[in-house]
Symmetry: C2
Subunit: 187 residues, 2 copies
């Protein structure tokens, strides 16, 4: 079941390098793209950097609206993740084309994608130089949620019985690693 995640734990959601689906919406247009390149940059306040090519429709909507969302896809969404990562939303509504079920984000109202394992809404922190030189976009997390079957009390729990909720980690060329084995220091 979808549960709120304390903002103090939000960086944990992307700490281990999952692929994310970047959702944007502005003036009646909406879009989703896949991004393999993201990382937290700060715990408190929770801030995240994500690489979004300046030629994409996502960058246009993101800059115009000042907000974006990150949804963490899991194994049943592998094909969708590749599909939305390889076409532009400039000419068609990918939500409609791929019949993507969604629900409104709790703070910004962005269309968050059903069936993911976690969801974050962010306010854009404009950084013209980093955006221009490195396509690196910064945002501050204003809402965080996760499926409590795989993330609860501030931590991921990857087990055999929730394998369909594990995160995806893009290896390139449509191949994804899934972090199903967990090790502990001193263990």
């Amino acid at each position: 079941m979808r549960r709120d995640v304390a903002l103090a734990h939000a960086s944990r959601l992307v700490n281990h390098g999952p692929t994310v689906l970047v959702v944007t919406e502005h003036a009646g247009r909406r879009n989703v793209m896949a991004a393999a390149w993201s990382m937290p940059v700060e715990f408190t306040p929770p801030r995240i950097a994500v690489v979004v090519d300046k030629k994409t429709f996502t960058r246009e909507l993101l800059a115009a609206s000042g907000r974006f969302a990150l949804c963490l896809p899991c194994p049943p969404l592998v094909d969708l993740s590749c599909a939305v990562g390889s076409s532009s939303g400039r000419d068609e509504d990918k939500f409609q084309r791929h019949r993507i079920a969604h629900f409104p984000g709790p703070v910004l109202g962005l269309p968050l994608i059903e069936g993911c394992s976690a969801w974050l809404e962010l306010r854009h922190l404009p950084e013209p130089h980093a955006e221009d030189a490195y396509d690196t976009v910064f945002g501050e997390v204003v809402s965080a949620q996760a499926d409590d079957r795989v993330f609860a009390q501030g931590r991921w729990s990857f087990r055999d019985d929730n394998a369909d909720l594990h995160t995806l980690h893009h290896l390139g060329a449509g191949r994804f690693a899934v972090p199903s084995r967990v090790l502990s220091a001193g263990g």
Copy 2:
């Protein structure tokens, strides 16, 4: 066996979000710290961003020398990764304290850590604002190598028989996920 990786494939080494060990050296001092937060920002030339707190000794050596290396630890190095991530190298040489075996990087000569699955040397791309505001440090890869039992021909191959060479993905609090299961789109 350690093999050179074409620079065109260097971003693949960190595409899936592994924890890295950041190695620095300047004027006879050297250091290593663990960083969970890094990502590629560009394929060609291969560029990577990594979050390194401005209070660390690593930042000091990195800024003074203009170079750093990223080594990708694997399961046998879990305890070492936590150990070097939780103490400062300002007062002691962590290489010596933890008896870390190393070899010289092929381009910059940095002390790269034996037993990792991949190694990158980078020239620092100074970005004072991003470094100050987000502790985000950018670098351009000038050498890349990987153990060919787990990365060859530009791609990771995570299998049961090379499990000790899989990458580590920090979940927080000394727990690491290991991406041992691989899925393909359309598969």
